[in-house]
Every structure is written in C-alpha cells, then in structure tokens.
Symmetry: C2
Subunit: 216 residues, 2 copies
Amino acid sequence: MKIVAAKKLLKANDRLAAENRKKLSAAGVVCVNIVGSPGAGKTTLLEALFAALGGRARPAVIEGDIAGAIDAERIERLGVPVVQINTDGACHLDAGMIAAALADLDLEAVDLLFIENVGNLVCTAGFDLGEQLRVVVLSTVEGDDKAVKYPAIFQGSDALVITKADLLRHTNFDPARITADYLRLAPDGRVFQVCATTGDGIPPVVQWLGGDRHET
Amino acid sequence: MKIVAAKKLLKANDRLAAENRKKLSAAGVVCVNIVGSPGAGKTTLLEALFAALGGRARPAVIEGDIAGAIDAERIERLGVPVVQINTDGACHLDAGMIAAALADLDLEAVDLLFIENVGNLVCTAGFDLGEQLRVVVLSTVEGDDKAVKYPAIFQGSDALVITKADLLRHTNFDPARITADYLRLAPDGRVFQVCATTGDGIPPVVQWLGGDRHET
C-alpha cells in the first residue's frame, strides 16, 4: 500500500517534471538543479557564477529551503530574480513546487535558471524537477568518501563541483579518489574544483554552463 | 490518505522506539543518537570519544549508512563492537532498524551505545530511535546559519557538537551566532566545540556523556 502510494507520487512528479522541461525549453531557458549537503557552498557557488557571468547570460534562481529566506536574500542582493520556496519541513523540492515557482518568473527574461535544492544528499536524488542539468556540489571538507556513501545523487548527474578548494590543504580529501568514484557513477560527468569565495576555478564552470559541454 | 499512512508509520515507529528505550534502560545502556550532515565528522568524533573514554565506559556503535560499510570498518579497527545497518536508499534510520540491530549486540557488555545516523539534517529529525540523548554534529565549515535553515533537527536535542574547530580561522563561521540560534531551539542543550582529529575539546563531551549533564 505504502509502496503503491510512493510510486503514484513519483509518477505524478515525473509528469509535472516533463511539463516543466517543455515550458523551460520553449522559453530557451537552461535549467540547472543544484544539489548538495547543507553547507556544501551552493549559494556561494551561485554568487561566484553570477559575478563571472558578467552579463553574458541572464540568470534567475529558485531557492528551496525548509525554513527561512537567508539564501534568497543573498541572491536578491546581487540583483538576480529569485523565487523562494519554503518546503515547510519537506526534505527535497519536487516538480510541483517548481511548476508553482515558474509561474512567478518571467522566463522570457531568463537564460540560466538555477534551482538551489534543499541541503540533502539523499532525498533530492529521487525527484526530477524538469531540469536540463543536475550538478552535485561537494566541499573538500566533507570528505572524499561521499560518492561511495551516497551514490544515488551522484549517479547520472552532469557535473560534480568540488568547492572550498582553499581548505583542501587542511584536510585529507583526495580529489583523485572522489573523481574516480564519481566517474564510475556518472561516466559522462564533468568534474570541477573551485574556490567560490576567490573565484578560482569558476570560469570553466561558466563556460560549461554556457553550452560548451563537449570537452573532456 | 497519504497523510494517514505517514501518521500510522510514525505511530508504529514511536511504539518500537519506546520498546528500544525500555530494553536499553533495563540493560543500563545510555544510547546516543548522533545526527548531522554528510561529512560533519560524526565518525571522527566517535573515534576521538573512544580514545578519550580510556576504558571508563564500554562503547558500542550502530552504524547507519545508505550503502557501504566504510564507517563501520573504521570503528571495528578500534576494537569497538559495531553493527552496520544499510538502509538501501532510505534517508534515515528508524526504530525498527534499531530493534533489529539491538538483537545483534550483547547489551550487558555495553555502557554507551552510539547510533550514527545517516548523514541528513532533515529526515532524521522525525524518527525517535529510542535513544536517551540526541546529539547534533555540525562542522565549522558548514556555516553558522544551519540552525535557522534546518530547525527541526536542532529542536529539543540534548547537545550541539561543533566539529573541525581547527578550520574555524579559515571560515566566517561565528560560534556565538550558532550558539544563540541553537539555544532558542534547545534551551537545555549543551554546546561543545571540538577538533576531533587532535582531541581538543573532547574531554568535556566525555564527561557529559558519562552522566555529568547538569553543569552550564
């Protein structure tokens, strides 16, 4: 009974996700679902990407949080259109929430739509939002064993962005280990290493988001 | 319909949690549910606690992971009894899983039982496991805004252990801010700041776990 209900919910989610994808595609919007643990540096990464975009693409953000609007306020300060979703306890965004948020955005004025998911390496994996790209953000201080321990979120994702590269020398994080584990789960995935607070490593991410997704 | 099912499940969980609590109490075991994000340093904290216990109490561990046994192997190397639970995708432990794991432990030979929950600041909040103490582990590199953004897990917990204190000077983490936010959610909670890799700050945690839980 419980499993049937869960399957029905997921089916409904997939239908809504397909509608979102169609709507975004029709408006020429590239939509990126940003997932990662609490504190991985998702919002700081967005801030760095906006600084580096330099007007080459018009960004917007859908912020998913269980409570509060701290991240949305940070984005708003940069003059980027942002819609806040408060999940009221729910541990991930779903396609229905995104459909509601899309109605609040002028998609004709957006080229790159970032969805910052709830900080959660587990539950976010099960829900297609209608995005074109899924990017996993993992900080050097979280440990290099996370792809092995939380495989679903990495599996089939489009890129891994390793953040807080400036702290690497203070940790036992091995970028080669996580890269090898990641590429087993996402053979076509790209791996980036950045320090979002200084902007180091950000330009290749911007280039990739801009459509140059075929280099090795 | 969906809500009823969820309520029923939670009710069943609470019943099993009460049974676990009774069983643990009868055996004189203090059970500690350790929750936190992936990479907060839960396992490293356990390693430091075991080193500091120095035979004053006999520990055991129930390790919750979605996949793999990396953490259980780390604990086993220290000669501490450990039972691994693989949740096979589930985002938190529940009382039924703990009941099954308890059957694999000789509780008469245990004083302190640590349950290392799945790395998840969200879903773990809803499930009583039958523990006596719930400890939230948060690293300095995750940011000081987490109590505001993920209130449920902090609410009513017994202690906040701030880990990776050695990295504090490389971050903008403000211990005073998280402490104030935390104490609003858990007025009786204790706050510790530790560096588990060096052992700094560990002795007060051990003292508190040993029953000295009334100081300020």
